[in-house]
Symmetry: C2
């Protein structure tokens, strides 16, 4: 037979079973946390009508999109989960209850140039809360709690949720009579982390034509930092001069004041006035989440408040707030940094090894253990004992359960802890309890900081 | 702004939140059951190199596949989960432990002509056990247990797992000196259910040129039925004349004899000698699962034993056994039949309704309930009481939790059971327990037979 060399396309993540198990654990944490906050799971097609996906059109999106025809249809693969959400809400408007809270964890496609750590197929994990005409700022205040729970759930502690408010920025630039240049200014200020204050001042003056007072004013504003109370006090000094600014400040207060109530410690939260994000989309609170030890990878969970989700499809005003986690990239980075925990990747908790010709006792034992909640693989291959144990090792199962003539005669089984080598003779009920106790004791988070 | 009418492509399933919740419950049952039997979750790209997906080539597959170019690449969307598995195992052979047990629940694509109940994008839920060179028949015996657990887990009871063995069939036709016509005969015999014995006899004689003795012999063989013991006895009568037949009988015995041990009652299992399935692929045990009340929809979970998973990609001999559930179609049919249960579709267990201007007490209460394991949505919109309750109704949440001045003063909250209308004043710990008890009492399966 002529053979084709198997390969996986570059830019497409395909994990070995041990790593896939960790990815699944992360997805499970995401699903559970989102559900805890009343988000409904949603699933939309990967393929949509190209006209609909490209309603907004233009730019990078159009270049990167996977677009093709089938019959008469002009089709495309979704490049994010926001456009399909907008379509969904516009299409099913009459059948949804608003505020509509949905989460979606799904693959999206961008034909980017392939390079290390860049993916053409990747998971996004999104939540959004969509209002019908209006949406309370309380929803914006709740988002940091969800981000916090997720990253703590993963096992991370050294991260910071950074928050800003677009109204504050727009109001501030209006006060400075720089409203028209605000887009360019924000893009320049966004480089503060990378190129530093002096270079940003230079760019503001030389490229954007600001005078020294204006440039200094902007840099002074951006430098406002500290605890929540401190930042709010500093911002108070600017209030009363612009309505938009004042509204932004009020929203920022609503978000920061309720943090503790939502269970987010101040140590994991910061107001950062230099954050702008998606300039033509976000209109209120914006979020970024950075890993303190890996600032170079940028934000791992971002989003914000917007006023018009689905204007391309409906005249209904649908404001919302949402965040997105680039799950595939996050997983890749954590793996690269050696932060995926070693254990918890075996497909079973116990491998049952029949040592007799008749498999019946082993089958019964396996079913008993399963009924007790143990994930059991029954090993049916006719191999030497050494090969069986080497398979158990390779799988990484925490327990091997041996069942030979002696054990069967006594109504017991030998349970071997693969980590310690300790082996005990137990009846099935005891074996199940022993294994479950061992699992509970050995439990660790999916990610481990060093 | 010019608007585009939102729509979802025909042949693509997009569910409303209530139904999506049920689909998620079914997926959750699948994941948990597969994991119970030691299957590792796997995820492979939706897009693959077209050459690789089409290695086998020809037939319907090639016509239905979504194939397109991006840059220089000839790409295609996977049309099943078996070909990607074959590629995966061939590609990562050295890094896998065999037997390799994986499950995969993922979308596949076939550009079929759109019609009611036919999907172009649909979920398959597959499990396979792949051996390296050899694979014990014990794995084939375990498969019915997994099918049984899944369908019972869904809430179904009126189904039957039908099993046959290809070696039995091949051996039988060899005995009859009809080996060369066995493919055509099997395709004809497969019509027994639809067109009946007389028409099948006619076809066998007139179209395939069999004599009456041969035709009767085949029909007599196919009519063997009854309990497992009965069927095995009837088959014994044919043994000792053909090695393949005898091997098939031994395998069938291994599968049926261990059923009870695996927890599958005989009521849900039948040997059915007319089942053949994928003629050029399966080589041993084959499975079909039918819903007793809906025979017209055919098998909802099928598969079998094969000897060569990845011959197109590797010279390694990789035998395996697997089954596949067409999840999207199954869900569609169950929904059509009104078999999706009414409850359990709300995105939250409780909706917390703040009745004061300050949301702080409601935030704290919501977090307390969440810590206790209740899925809570906090309602922050400034609406009238009636509108709030109508939202709770529309969401279908089982409990609404009201928090006004009075409740706050007493350190309590009012918990309203939305189904009974009963309202009780409780402290937060009691409220959590009350809600969790109510949920446990009201629990039902995702599918309900009538």
């Amino acid at each position: 037979m002529e053979r084709i060399k198997p390969r996986t396309l570059s830019g497409f993540m395909e994990l070995l079973p041990g790593k896939q198990a960790k990815m699944e654990r992360m997805m499970d944490i995401l699903r559970k946390t989102y559900a805890q906050y009343g988000f409904a799971p949603l699933d939309t097609p990967v393929i949509e009508d190209a006209q609909i996906l490209l309603a907004k059109g233009g730019g990078e999106t159009e270049k990167q999109i996977y677009r093709f025809s089938k019959g008469d249809s002009d089709l495309a693969l979704r490049f994010d989960l926001t456009v399909p959400l907008a379509k969904y809400v516009a299409l099913h408007y009459g059948e949804l209850a608003f505020p509509f809270r949905r989460y979606q964890i799904g693959k999206v496609y961008r034909g980017e140039r392939a390079q290390r750590g860049r993916f053409r197929e990747f998971y996004q994990a999104d939540i959004d809360i969509i209002g019908d005409g209006s949406l309370s700022v309380l929803n914006e205040a709740e988002i940091p709690a969800i981000i916090y729970k997720i990253f703590r759930g993963f096992g991370l502690n050294r991260f910071c949720i950074r928050v800003n408010n677009r109204k504050l920025l727009n109001g501030f630039y209006a006060m400075m009579d720089l409203a028209e240049k605000s887009g360019e200014i924000m893009r320049t200020v966004d480089k503060l982390d990378k190129i530093g204050t002096d270079k940003v001042r230079l760019l503001l003056m030389e490229e954007l034509g600001l005078d020294q007072t204006q440039a200094e004013g902007i840099l002074r504003f951006m430098a406002i930092s500290g605890g929540n109370a401190q930042v709010l006090t500093a911002l108070e000094a600017y209030s009363g001069r612009n309505e938009t600014f004042d509204q932004g400040l009020e929203e920022l207060r609503a978000v920061t004041e309720n943090l503790a109530g939502f269970g987010v410690p101040e140590t994991h939260f910061a107001v950062d006035l230099s954050i702008a994000r998606g300039l033509d989309y976000y209109t209120g609170t914006v979020y970024e989440t950075t890993l303190l030890d890996y600032p170079q990878i940028g934000s791992v969970c971002s989003g914000g408040r917007y006023d018009d989700l689905a204007g391309y499809y409906t005249e209904k005003k649908l404001p919302g707030v949402g965040i997105s986690i680039g799950l595939t990239r996050l997983f890749y980075v954590l793996d690269e940094q050696g932060m995926l925990s070693e254990d918890g990747s075996a497909p079973a908790d116990a491998l049952v090894l029949p040592m007799t010709a008749d498999p019946a006792p082993a089958i019964a034992l396996a079913e008993q253990l399963r009924s007790a909640g143990v994930r059991v693989q029954l090993y049916g291959e006719q191999k030497k004992f050494k090969q069986k144990m080497s398979y158990a090792d390779k799988l990484g199962v925490p327990f091997a359960v041996l069942l030979g003539e002696d054990e069967i005669a006594q109504g017991k089984c030998s349970v071997k802890d693969m980590r310690t080598g300790e082996q005990v003779l137990l009846c099935p009920e005891e074996a199940a309890a022993h294994i479950l106790d061992g699992l509970a004791a050995g439990q660790s988070t999916v990610i481990r900081e060093r």
